[in-house]
Amino acid sequence: MNLEIAAQKIKLSFEKNDSASHSFLNSVAASYGNPGEKSHDFEIVIAYDSNLHDGIKKIPEGIVHIHSNPANTSALLSSNKFFSRISWSEKTMKVSVDNHFHDPDMLVLENIKLLIGFLCIQKGGLPCHASVLYKDNTAIAFIGGSGSGKSTIAALLSDTWKVIDDDFNIFLPSNGIFRVHTTPFYLLSRTGAKRDCALPIPLERIFVLKKGVITKMSRIESPRNYWDIMENTFAFSYNDYFGEKILENCQRLCETVPVSNLFFAKTVDLSLKINDFLQKGDML
């Protein structure tokens, strides 16, 4: 994905085949873009306190309308910071904010994150606050509150596992399997970072991080796993439709992907123990 920022206009381009950095945007492009088109350029116009903003203030926070009519594919998003009107057919994203908001980079990323989150939920998935690692064709996710050790564990396992994203991850079902889709955010926030995985990777297990004196793992049964995942789902504002969808998608994720507690100590054999656990299941 490329970003060109000039004054209050931003050009966002992403190629359909550039899947290494953002497979989920690829799938969005396939769903909403014009058939046969190889790239999707969006012009993002930021309007400060414009008529658009005034007209839109009446729309409740958290509302999103996504029209799938090919002639008029568009989405409306709103949060407490901005309102956006995205049109796939016109390839524009018009963002309206109040006069106090002057950080275009952040605004664009926040908008895209919000859009991706909504689209993910609409497609049956969940945008999760997690650290996700991968090896071969297996991904494992680590969730937990702030300071629970998501970044620490990613560093501890870096000898054998690679990071997909340590913050914003998309879990999306297809053919009965939840897969981790890559998004641009991790790479955008780290200069020079690279990722060599191209395709969505099956999510094998979710670990809920807990600090411990010894490393220990145990399966979390329903409905506790549901609670843990809901707590770590990105809390966008909800309307009727998305509230129902988030609860439904979370249940499907819990039924498909095992969730385990991971009490971890900073020991050298952590990676071995996790590998062993993944192979032997819940017997440790």
Partner: protein, 87 residues
């Protein structure tokens, strides 16, 4: 005294527990099996006395104890803006 369940809720039953998402506050609440049983009776608009009687029979506790439990539960629902009360 009448109560009313507010309308900005999304609800899902997972196993024996009930999860409620209060959309306007982005808050999630979960109830255990007893709370779920009470909630279902609130949805059916049953009177508090009737709910207490059912809880007393189901869990073999005194009617007074059941009424106290139901009132406390109802109070927590009101506090969390899941239910409103009308005189």
């Amino acid at each position: 005294m009448n109560y009313e369940i507010v309308d900005d809720l999304s609800i899902r039953i997972v196993g024996d527990e009930l999860f409620i998402l209060k959309r306007s506050m982005s808050m999630i609440h979960s109830f255990n099996a007893t709370g779920t049983m009470i909630w279902k009776m609130l949805q059916e608009k049953k009177q508090i006395e009737e709910i207490a009687r059912a809880i007393s029979e189901r869990f073999d506790i005194s009617k007074n104890e059941a009424e106290k439990d139901v009132s406390e539960f109802l109070y927590s629902l009101i506090k969390n803006q899941l239910v409103t009360l009308h005189e």
